[in-house]
């Protein structure tokens, strides 16, 4: 897959989505560069899920425009889908299929050749320290391993951009860090990573982040720039200030 290094991997311009009279996403604009690890933060109900659905072509925007991997999310849904990977905490792999079967399934869905699938399966099994003969059902894996496997599967077709929706919820602290190493490896290979998380220490691992509040991007920048902007020592406090608003934030 060729990645046009000069062009941003994700562009959102005044992207909006309304449901009836409710505006879930309100004119958000940002750019994510190729190979960047971009944290997409916000409280429950701030509009993150709606924004991700628009960027992955699942929902059409009410207003504004966006492109992912150079393709318009309104008009080039097919191409967008082919160039992205997606993984969420709720659903990523089939529990009742084995590790290999899951890899083969997604390889097939994305049109990889048998040789490519075989080669990448071996690579994934080695990377995740599975025995080459592994026949375990995904159901039997510890959550952390399941999530690492899900990430590898989402990257199987070498997408230009991968969307990770709360990928590490409930995962033990060591495996969580291993998961982030996989994220860095993918980014080093040029894949753009768009990730949401409720762990604010993980937000520190991002190159840049945005924090959504009430459908708008309330803050955007590198972790250190954001901490400096709000003159607080941790991102946790940046987040709390923004999400609770200045009035209540001061009480804390």
């Amino acid at each position: 897959m060729t990645i046009r290094s000069a062009a941003p991997a994700i562009v959102a311009r005044s992207l909006s989505r309304r449901f009836g009279s409710f505006t879930a996403v309100d004119r958000i604009s940002f750019e994510v560069q190729a190979g960047e690890v971009f944290g997409f933060l916000g409280a429950n109900g701030a509009g993150k899920t709606t924004a991700i659905r628009m960027l992955t072509g699942l929902l059409s925007p009410s207003d504004g425009e966006a492109s992912v991997a150079g393709f318009d999310v309104r008009t080039q849904i097919e191409q967008v889908r082919r160039h992205i990977g997606y993984m969420s905490q709720r659903f990523s792999l089939y529990d009742d299929l084995t590790v290999r079967e899951n890899i083969r399934l997604y390889g097939g869905i994305y049109g990889l050749t048998d040789a490519e699938i075989a080669e990448r399966t071996t690579a994934i099994l080695a990377e995740l320290r599975f025995a080459p003969s592994v026949a375990a059902l995904v159901r039997s894996l510890p959550l952390g391993w399941k999530q690492k496997l899900a990430l590898s599967v989402a990257l199987l077709h070498r997408p230009a951009v991968v969307f990770l929706d709360e990928p590490t919820g409930g995962v033990d602290p060591i495996t969580r860090r291993q998961f982030w190493e996989l994220i860095y490896q993918a980014a080093a290979r040029g894949t753009t990573v768009f990730v949401t998380t409720h762990y604010l220490d993980e937000a520190e691992y991002c190159d840049r982040l945005s924090i959504m509040v009430d459908g708008r991007v309330a803050a955007l920048g590198t972790p250190s720039a954001l901490k400096a902007e709000f003159s607080v020592p941790t991102l946790d406090e940046v987040f709390v200030r923004l999400a609770r608003g200045p009035a209540t934030g001061a009480v804390l």
């Binding site: 894996l141 919820g169 409930g170």
Partner: protein, 314 residues
């Protein structure tokens, strides 16, 4: 034993080939806010189900409020409030209907439990006509808490009450637990978030069905066996590569915007360890290096005690 709200001794529980709990023992004092900290699949839910009399342990014994979980399950059920992992609400019933249903199930009314749940209920009262299914995650969580409290239990058991909830709502939720603890209520809550553990009186770290440590949150950090350093430097990747290549490194874990590193050698002063580490990094051409001693936290200890995870389910 009667002073303990919960007394657990040597509990084991197996499901077929998998062992969910392997010899778990601990006590929770009356009035305590006790945290059960560990990742998904560590055995927290099984433990809660044994304490709520929903499951019978294979071996070992447990008493809750002085009653045996196997023999006196009826007395226990009347006196505990339980919030299972998934918020167990009826999505098609309104906030008010859910609450009054759970009140009647326990033979009480919303009015009778009102003063206890008031600080929480006030926050969801504006939405009392709304169906539970249409609430945000944080609101659902507060409603579920109200439902577990409405019959004025003597013990509150919360299984991962903050899972899937954003950092702000999580904070607010723990503020609510503080308020409840102030009324003298005994609370046991589980969480995979290490930062939440700091808000408990005492915590038990749990991993793979076994307790790794039981202590006050501050003391858990002090169980970390070696001096710990927070390391910074330009380019995280280069920094991590250099640290992993360091022959004396016992542990290297990214921690927010730093990397926590400890030295495996025990006979060497902390200052010496710090100095050698800085020199190693500079030798590896990592720029802007800073190595400062840091107080180990709960997560540091947890990672130290849990050992390297393996892809094979326990």
């Amino acid at each position: 034993m009667s002073a303990s709200a919960i007394h657990v001794a040597g509990i084991e529980k197996r499901f077929g080939a998998t062992t969910a709990l392997r010899g778990v023992s601990f006590d929770v004092e009356a009035g305590e806010l006790f945290g059960l900290v560990g990742p998904d699949g560590a055995g927290k839910t099984t433990l809660f189900r044994i304490l709520t009399t929903l499951l019978v342990p294979d071996t070992g014994s447990a008493t809750v409020l002085g009653k045996d979980v196997v023999r006196d399950y009826w007395d226990i059920r009347l006196r505990v409030g339980y919030m299972p992992g998934r918020f167990s609400l009826y999505a098609d019933l309104s906030v008010e209907e859910n609450l009054s249903f759970f009140a009647s199930v326990f033979g009480t009314t919303m009015a009778e439990g009102r003063d206890l749940i008031d600080p929480i209920y006030r926050q969801i009262e504006p939405f009392r006509e709304r169906r539970a299914g249409a609430l945000s995650g944080g609101m659902k969580q507060k409603l579920a808490l109200c439902c577990a409290l409405v019959h004025r239990p003597d013990l509150l058991l919360l299984d991962e009450p903050t899972t899937g909830v954003d950092a702000v709502s999580r904070r607010e939720f723990w503020d609510l637990l503080d308020t409840l603890r102030a009324t003298g209520l005994t609370i046991v809550a589980s969480t995979p978030y290490m930062d939440e553990a700091a808000r408990c009186d005492r915590i038990a770290l749990i991993q793979n069905g076994a307790l790794l440590a039981i202590d006050a949150p501050g003391a858990v950090g002090r169980r970390f066996p070696r001096p710990l350093f927070a390391v910074r430097g330009m380019s995280r990747t280069r920094l991590l590569t250099a640290l992993r290549a360091y022959a004396h490194a016992a542990s290297v874990y990214p921690f927010g915007d730093t990397v926590h590193v400890s030295d495996a050698r025990s006979g060497i002063a902390m200052e010496q360890q710090q100095l050698e580490l800085s020199e190693w990094l500079r030798a590896q051409s990592v720029t802007d290096v800073s190595v400062v001693p840091v107080e180990p936290g709960i997560e540091d200890t947890f990672m130290e005690l849990m050992g390297e995870p393996s892809p094979v389910a326990a």
